[in-house]
Structure formats: C-alpha cells, structure tokens
Symmetry: D2
Subunit: 193 residues, 4 copies
C-alpha cells in the first residue's frame, strides 16, 4: 500500500462529472461499483476535514461554439435530444451528492480548470495535492490530471473511483496518467487520510 | 461623434459590478445619473440583438485568501460587517437588472476574466469587441479594459456609464484606458449600434 | 478523402516536440517515416502561406517543481543524466527545422498552451483552425488537442505526422482525440491546403 | 518603517520593462534616480538569495493584432519608427541588467502574467510574495499588481523603484494599488530582507 503522504489541510478531492448522463454511458461504473467507492472516499474526507470540490458539466447551449467538435458531436446531441430532461441528466448521482456548503464548480468545457475558478479556489486555500475521481476516466479525469500536473499540483488518481466508457480506454488512460500522477485506490486513501 | 464601427454580431456589452454595495460607495453614480445612461445602452443593445453579459461579484468567503489584501481590506469588511444582508448588498441595481436569459458571470476576484468563463463565452460567439460599463471605473472597469486589450479584443469604454469612487480616480483611470481602448459615451453607442 | 475546409489565412500548423530526445524514444517515428510526412506538410504549408508555429520543450531546471511528477520522473532524468548534452537532445530534427522567421514557442510544461504566448499568437492572427503533429501522440499532441478543443479552435490531427511511445498508446490516443478533433493524414492536408 | 514580513525563500523581485524605450519617456525615472534605487534592491536581493525575475517587452510585430489599440498606437509607432534600432531600444538599462542565470520573462502584451510562464515559475518555487518595480508605474507595474493580487500573491510595490510617464499618473496609480498591495520603498526592502 503506497504512502500517499497526505496533509489534510493541503489536499482537495475533486469529484468530477459523476452525473447521470455520463454515468449511464459507462457500464464500468455499475459493474465495478464505482459509486460506492467514491462515496467511501467522500465520507472519509468529510470526517477528516479534507476539502471536497464537486465539478459538474455546465450546459449553456448559447455558448457552444460551432467549431467545438466535442460539444457538437457528443454533448449537444445527448443533452438536446427530443424529450430529454436536461436537469435530470445533469443531476449528480446519489452516492456523491454535495453536502452542506461543499463548493460546486460548473465548467463550460471538458477540463475543470478551463474557464472556472477552480485554480483560484485551490490556490486560495494553499491546496497542493488534488485527489481525482470521476466519469469518464479518459475525458474529465485525464483532462484534470494533465492540467493539474502542468500546474505543479501533486496529483493522485483513485482508479476504482473512476469509470471509463470502455475497458481499453480506462487502461490506457491510467497508463498515461501514471507518468503524471500517483495511481492509488479508495482503500489507499482511507488508510492514508 | 466617433464612428464606433460596431458589428452587432461581434459585439458584447459587459455590465459590471453595478450592485448595491459598490454603487452606494460611489457618489458619482447618483450625481451623474449613471444608472439611466447604462439602462439606455442595455435597452438599445437588446433591441439591436447585441449580446449583454452581466458580471457580478461572487462572494465566497471560504475562498478568500489571507494573502489577498483587496479581499481582506475592502471586500470582506463590507460584506461581512455585523447585520449586513449580503444578498441585498450584491443585488444588481434596478436599472441594469438582467432580463430573460442574459448570461451572468460570477467572478471570484476583481478582473472579470480571472477565474471565469467570460473569455470562453466571448470566443465561442466570435465576439471581437467589448463595450464596458460598471462601478468602479478604476477597479472592475479598468481591470476588464486592461485584460481585454491584452487579449486582443477591441475595447470601448462608455464613460458616462461608469462611476468611480472619486472624481480624480475616474479622470486618471480614463486617461490610462485611453491608451488601450476607445473612449465613448452612451450617446455614441446609441447612435452607432 | 475528407474535405478539411481549410482557409489558409485562418489555419496554423503546430509542429510539436519533434526534438531528438522524444524522437529517440519513439520507434514508431523511424518505422513509419514520420519525419518525412511532417516535412511534406511543412513544405506545403510554406508554399501556401499557412502559418507554422514550432513548439519546443524549454528546459529550465530551476523551475522544475518537486511536486511535478512528470518532470521529476521523466524529463529531468533524461535531460540531466551524466554526460548528456542538453542542447543536442533538444535540437529539432532536421526534417522539421524552423525556416526563416517562423515563430518558436518554448513551453515550460507539457501542454503548449500552458505558460506560453501560443493562444495570444493564434488569436492575434485570427487563426481558428490548428493542425497538429508531434511526438509523442499521447503526450504533447493529445495535450494540445484537448486544450485547443476546449478553447474552441477547430482541431485537425495528422495521424501519420505523430509518433507515440507505443502502438497501443498511439491507437487509444487517436481514439480519444477522434471525439475532439478531425483525424486526417498528411496526404489529406496536401490535397486540401 | 513597515514590517514587510519577508520570507526570502518565498519572495521574488519582479523588475519590469526597465528598458531604454520606456525609460526615455519617463522624466521621473531620471529626476528621482529610480535606476539607483532599483539597483540597490537587486543588489540586496542577490546577497540575500531572493529570486529575481526580469520581465521585458517581447517585440514580435507578426503577432501584433490590428484590434489591439495599445500596440497599434503606442508600441508599434515607437519601435518601428524609421531609423530605430529595436535591439537598442529594448535593452535593459545598465543599473538593472540581469546577472548570471537570473530568469528573463519575455511578454507579448502589457501584463507580465499574460501569455508567459511567470505564474508557473513563481508557483513552482512556492513564491507567495512578489515585490514590484518597473516603468511605467501606471502600465506594467499596475497591470502586474492587479493580476498578482487576483491570483492571491502578497504584493509589495516599491514606490521609489517605479517611474511613471507623469506625476499625476504615478500618484493615482499608487492610490489604486494601495487597495491591492503594500506600498513601501527601497529603504524598507533593504531593512527587511
């Protein structure tokens, strides 16, 4: 079991895009019980006084650029399909719902640091370590890991708290992130926090 | 009267910090009827189909860094004084209240481009010209003008739609912004839009 | 063959990290003749008057954070090994050497938009489409594709002008980028420019 | 004399735009002996092992946007006038020339944090306090103070190490910065470092 060297006051959990729309597209989320693993991390973080930041997709169709392929081909078709209830699709799933005054970052694009106050929030509290979990591994989680690494945060990815849209993508994404981040599990976190 | 060369589809009005707390500190706001001038600009922009973005102070005490002097010395004392109703102090004043689905950018610091989706919003719509109004001239307006100029937006400052905390600061701030922006008035805008 | 809809005045080629150190770690670079494909693209871009921006690793050991795992585990060991000639390792390989006054962006981290003037350069010229090539596919190329997509650039990745550190990583990285970008080849570019 | 509470390891001096072109436009620079005051600060910082970062104007005419008024009206006319020697105009003046391997940040626009690795450099070294000096007070110095304050750095402005293009602009700019920063003098710095 790795020693994560966690300093509670300088660590933040980022719980990202664990909303119904992406969760439904991830068979892995259900098969591996990712919601329960993530819940155990949030519970432990709350008990330990570790900052939790919830990151969610902010759906603002008026600002969806025609040049942005990801929005045009992935996000808009899902969220603007006929009969769709956007509010319901963007609901955070029960296991990882924000509690009390835990901050929520609404992001306009994929990377949670892009066009948001996330970096400012973390810096203002002298956070130097971010612990990542979310859906999908290869999209929001890897985007966050890449940016946080470039920005000189210490990055920890909790593998069993992430779910991808395919096993292959999960595996390769973790392989890439292994160059930028410490890979660990929810059990490691519970042991170390 | 200057020709502002406005292309409606590529122009956005930024209406910034015209909230009760800063407005009350600005005698100039009342004396010069800044609210009415700003209202006339918003009305004309709505008629012309020009994008309006409302920028407001986002008060999140948990993310106020002890190193940030402006927050410690100015914003926190005003907004956390005993008996203060923060919601009321941060209300946008009646003349310039958002209408319909006009977007609102909540900013954590002074510059409206810092830690927000403002740049993303403007780029996604191919906006290349920003028209600035707000309180105070020397704080949020000048911060926005400086950033927008560095980011290669064409910047227009509507002098009579801005109010400072002193005449001296208003005058010198406009002098600085004259190097970065086109100075104009609400009348110029109404003529040109 | 896809129609890339290239507007020469609004397109930029980003030729990234094709320097001796990463190239030597990529068997794929030699086996697939990536240097020649990239050269054919640069030659065509020069003839067509398309902007070329060279992106290179900037080695500044004094600013390598101890918290940055990628620098500590990957970049520093390679570039500060005993007997190493850093200047030689960071040389751009012959096929894709900058010519004339083509701009060079020196980046301190992985993403070429992080801590550099790249976004400013592209915006100042009204570039809306970036054509990516580089080494490694799964590192700098994917980092650039992700950021450029979030920033609402149209992104084109030239598959045969990218080389990864493994076939598996190349394949999965292209699969991820297919959600954000148009995948094409050097032949497509030559046809369309 | 204020107690600046300087921690040498977490402090950086930013010496900004003290190049011949802006210096020649500032009568105040000569009249108040700003070069000598700045030199005394750099000498003391070197002795104390405090990080010094030199920030300079990077002149890249190819990336001067036609929408950027400051570049079009101020920078380009000065630097591209007939017979002008750009290299000479952008030389750092003798008193504050970089020594040894002191890092130099070349900025494409006014704010030294815009389009540069400055933030990355400071974060990577855990710098939390920036000490500002430069020409002109109301341009680069105030731009840096505003950005650094928003980014939660502790900001100290050394008044006698800054020169403006007019006495009025110097005075009002310091008044604005007094809300964001600690105003001090070179003597305060020498006493406290």
């Amino acid at each position: 079991m790795p020693n994560l060297n966690l300093d509670r006051a300088e660590t933040a959990i980022l719980s990202m895009d664990i909303q119904k729309a992406p969760v439904r597209r991830s068979a892995m989320f259900r098969e591996r019980n990712v919601g329960q693993a993530a819940k155990s991390v949030l519970d432990a973080a709350r008990k330990a006084g570790v900052l939790i930041v919830h990151v969610v997709i902010d759906y603002q169709p008026a600002f969806f650029s025609p040049k942005n392929k990801f929005l045009q081909k992935v996000r808009i078709p899902i969220l603007s399909a006929p009969g769709v209830d956007v509010g319901e699709l963007l609901e955070i799933v029960d296991e990882v719902k924000p509690m009390g005054d835990e901050p929520i970052i609404r992001k306009p694009r994929m990377n949670p640091f892009f066009g948001t106050a996330l970096d400012s929030m973390l810096r203002s509290r002298d956070i130097d370590t971010v612990v990542l979990m979310g859906v999908a591994t290869e999209f929001v989680v890897e985007a966050a890991a890449r940016h946080a690494a470039d920005a000189d945060f210490r990055v920890i990815v909790l593998e069993d708290c992430c779910a991808a849209f395919s096993d292959d993508a999960h595996r390769v994404s973790l392989h890439i992130m292994d160059h930028l981040a410490t890979l660990a599990t929810s059990a490691d976190f519970l042991e170390n926090v």
